[in-house]
Symmetry: C2
């Protein structure tokens, strides 16, 4: 009693049923691009040998629109989770990938997202080993949301945490601020700012490995995503119970991003990045780490932007171009929703 | 320059910003219930020592309604991921937890979900060690979706996979079929079928540990969720390249579920379960495993429902009450969307 399967170039509710169409969607739409021995087993969980300090993280991506200059939700999901692992110093190994798809999304769009996942995973040297696909009725989700989890191994002797900043440490940022947020916003709102701005969305695991090679004593690493650099520095200052001083004139910001922010009333300090990191490093190692970073394609504009202090724990202060000191608070409200 | 935060008993877009309200939501709404040393560090990833064969899995839960008799989306998310780990024989250790929340969800509802996560995690003996919270505008997601990932360790000598069924093996199911699907559907559609039917949503890791103690040679374990028992048996038959024969009269089904299925035109074989497992076990071990299972509160109605054969690999056949043989195909279409 073979039943005929509906043919459609759109995702149907039945593609999420766990039944025949669901298996077909996975077998034809997802597995060929991501195939590896662990994923291909299709058991309820992937099983592999590990030994050491495991890093484990998760993030759901709800970016709107799902395709934007410089990336899409697939690349974003892989890079975001690779980066979260990297910020503990871990070498990322394996990812999980879970889609929630709105009925009616085209198979082509899903295919493009899966293809981006494949490319970003290949660039980062990680494999997707386990996954899940749900389909929900129209209006229950906006197009597609993607969750990625990840595991990686932290090399011996590396002890990186948001709580380890020390007075005297230098604060390094790996490149220009706000590119991702402004690129996504421009696409969403149909704005243009001269040359087309690209999201900085990138996997930073190799950059981190190079930095650790130069200085295994790096104290903190964090990627300034939602809430931007300002929010990340506030988190680090609070977790480490230190103050942080940064210098406005040292902050790398693209002209297009500055212009867009001026026009729209945003501050690049609060705009999301998806391929940048902040490092807090012992002062003796700062220049060597910076030198090494600038040789990586994802950190050509790296700069030492400030230092860690002792007074007023939890406070972040910026010395402005005019020489004044301004308190840099955490983001309040959400001027840029669904940016990641 | 302290800014005043808006006060609301509803989740606002700003709660997902990565900024101040987001930190407050996590600090007050999530952390107190789930607190543990790994989660409390609030780094980008949790880091812990492991050594051995790691199982890693993910699932997103989109059940509608989010509260149903016998559980809610929080309990479902924990049990589902604990069970996926358990189906490899792994002892579940740590979970990730990622919320996508619709603007306007009440803080009370979120609190109830988080509280269910806490209770289910405590029952299963696992800890939530890393997480993520996104808030999206009204209409971009239906109330709340929850992704849970999980890691666990597979004991030495345990080799469980969907591909290991052997001709002669016995097929055991741990209890009544279709309780979860019918309970959720009843709640959603406002139907009642005599006494209130409860979802079977439960963590099965302790049951699995007890089963492995009796028979470390268990070949396959799988939880028959979306697509029900029929779909799971088809998956196992295909992965192992064997046939499976089951007997209708041996299938445990509650009277209320049978009545509901008769009325609504469903077949309990295809209705989702969230606290049941199928085990395929060498024939010599089947009775001992069954005995042990029946002493666990989540497997009192366990039964040997069939056996594995050689002919027609991939085929599942049911001997009906009337003595006829019926091919049991995989689910086609999706009669019960958003059941998990």
């Amino acid at each position: 009693m073979e039943m005929e399967l509906p043919v459609s170039d759109r995702i149907l509710m039945a593609h999420g049923s766990g039944g025949k169409l669901a298996h077909e969607l996975i077998a034809k739409g997802v597995l060929p691009a991501l195939s590896n021995p662990l994923l291909d087993r299709l058991d309820d969980a992937a099983v592999f040998e590990v030994s050491g300090r495991l890093a484990f993280t998760t993030d759901t991506y709800v970016v709107n629109p799902i395709f934007f200059p410089g990336g899409d939700i697939g690349r974003l999901a892989v890079c975001g989770t690779v980066n979260d692992l990297s910020m503990t110093g871990a070498v990322p190994l394996y990812l999980s990938l879970a889609f929630v798809i709105e009925e009616g999304l085209s198979q082509d769009e899903l295919g493009m997202v899966v293809s981006s996942v494949r490319q970003a995973a290949a660039e980062a040297g990680v494999q997707v080993v386990t996954g899940d696909t749900k389909v929900v009725n129209r209006g229950s989700v906006d197009k597609i949301f993607v969750n990625t989890g990840g595991v990686g191994l932290v090399p011996e002797a590396v002890e990186i945490s948001g709580s380890k900043a020390q007075p005297g440490d230098k604060v390094i940022v790996s490149g220009t601020l706000g590119d991702h947020g402004i690129a996504v916003l421009s696409q969403r709102e149909g704005l243009t700012f001269g040359t087309e701005l690209q999201s900085d969305c990138a996997p930073l695991n190799r950059l981190v490995a190079e930095m650790i090679e130069v200085s295994p004593r790096i104290h903190c690493l964090r990627d300034p995503t939602r809430g931007g650099l300002a929010t990340t520095l506030n988190e680090l200052a609070a977790q480490s119970r230190v103050s942080i001083r940064i210098y406005e004139e040292r902050l790398p910001v693209r002209d297009e991003v500055r212009a867009a922010c001026d026009m729209l009333g945003f501050d690049p300090l609060y705009v999301a990045n998806e391929g940048k990191l902040v490092a807090i490093v012992p002062p003796d190692d700062a220049e060597a780490v910076l030198d090494k970073m600038r040789r990586n394609r994802y950190a050509r504009d790296a700069a030492i932007i400030g230092e860690v202090g002792e007074a007023s724990p939890g406070r972040v202060v910026m010395k402005t171009r005019l020489g004044a000191s301004r308190i840099v608070d955490m983001l309040v409200g959400d001027p840029l929703p669904r940016i990641c």
